[in-house]
Amino acid sequence: MNVTCSDRERILGDGTPAEWAALEEHAVSCPLCAEEIRGWKSLSVAAQELRDYTDSPSFWPRIERALAEEAAGRAQHAERRGWLSFLPSFSPAWQTVFAGALVLVLTISGGWVYLHRPIQKPDNDKSLLKSSALKEVESAESSYERAIDKLAAETKPQLENPATPLLANYHEKLLVLDSAIADLRAQAGLNPSNAQLRYQLLAMYREKQHTLEEVLEAKP
């Protein structure tokens, strides 16, 4: 086999024994290749300097102790989780199936509990009561207003032509009360649930009622 300098690197990298022999033969007459081969081999020789297989008598006992401790620890751990020890005996596929089944059972249970929960009826009584109370108040107000209007109708002839200054004052007072009642009624119409307005309106009606009674009593 003939080799040349150009084959050298290939043979150094991955040459067959025959190629190495041919390269050695070529190196006899080629100083450059001889030098390269020597350098290449020297690295392998130098690598021996990194080899030290001196035995350390205490090393294996140390490893053995660590292995035994680890094995004992694992055994204890396995005992602690003994009730779950059946799990590894199932394949991952079966474990997935069990996990899926568990999720399904939990979902169904949750759904059943949700559907059968005690239903709390909405607490509408208060609002109904509130509404009915409001209606009652408004109805009472209307009746009260009608009664006062009747009373006012009786006093009308005296107030339109007051015979005394007292009746003239009553007339003016009633005009002011009517004006105040009209304002309060307008406000109560905007905010019918406002109890304070209702109380004020009631107070005005009472005042008007008393005034009208006083007018009737003051009849000459």
């Binding site: 290449w40 690598a47 030290d52 053995e64």
Partner: protein, 226 residues
Amino acid sequence: MGTMGLALPWRARISSTQCERGTRVEPSEHLADGPNPAARDALSEDAALAAGCRSGDLRAYERLYTVHGARMKNLARNVLGNATDAEDAVQETFLKVQRGVASFRGQASFVTWTYRILINTCYDARRSRQRKKEVTNDDSEETPRPEPRAPGAHPTLRMALERALEKLTRHQRDVFLLYEVEGFRHAEIAGILETTETASKNTLFQAKKNLRLMLEPPRSSAAESR
């Protein structure tokens, strides 16, 4: 000139067994053609070791240590730079083997798998050491501590080679150590480093070229010194 002043018979074939290992010089991969009874024995030994370790038999681990312990420690020392860290790494490797042997499916040989764990453990330790060094703000360059070596060792050459190896890429360093120092075949290295035989050969070639550049004096100065 430029050969580090050493010359040994280069045709010494490296055996896969530790006691017969000698100087590793090419070509070594082309000699193992045909059916090899030793390889068959190695395979059955490997399978027996795996089975023993899987069953939790400490004697199997002891056998693994007896056959490979010194080589594992030497490899770890060359990666980590000192014997203490190397012993820790080897011990951690045995523990990892014990923890993971149940999941070992036999895609690679058990011993190859063990060495892969060792290499990864060594580099984890290196990274951890580097992080500690960064935390303590220790800017001093890491210098390998002088350690007792086998009789006949050449400390200057060893230190020069160790320094040069540090400058190689991780992959080049691993392949050089596994092939030239520990005597693994490229097929085994491919299994350990999860690469291909061809890549292992190419990497070794590049590693040796780089090492030569670092270790040998320039040709011109060498010629002048004559």
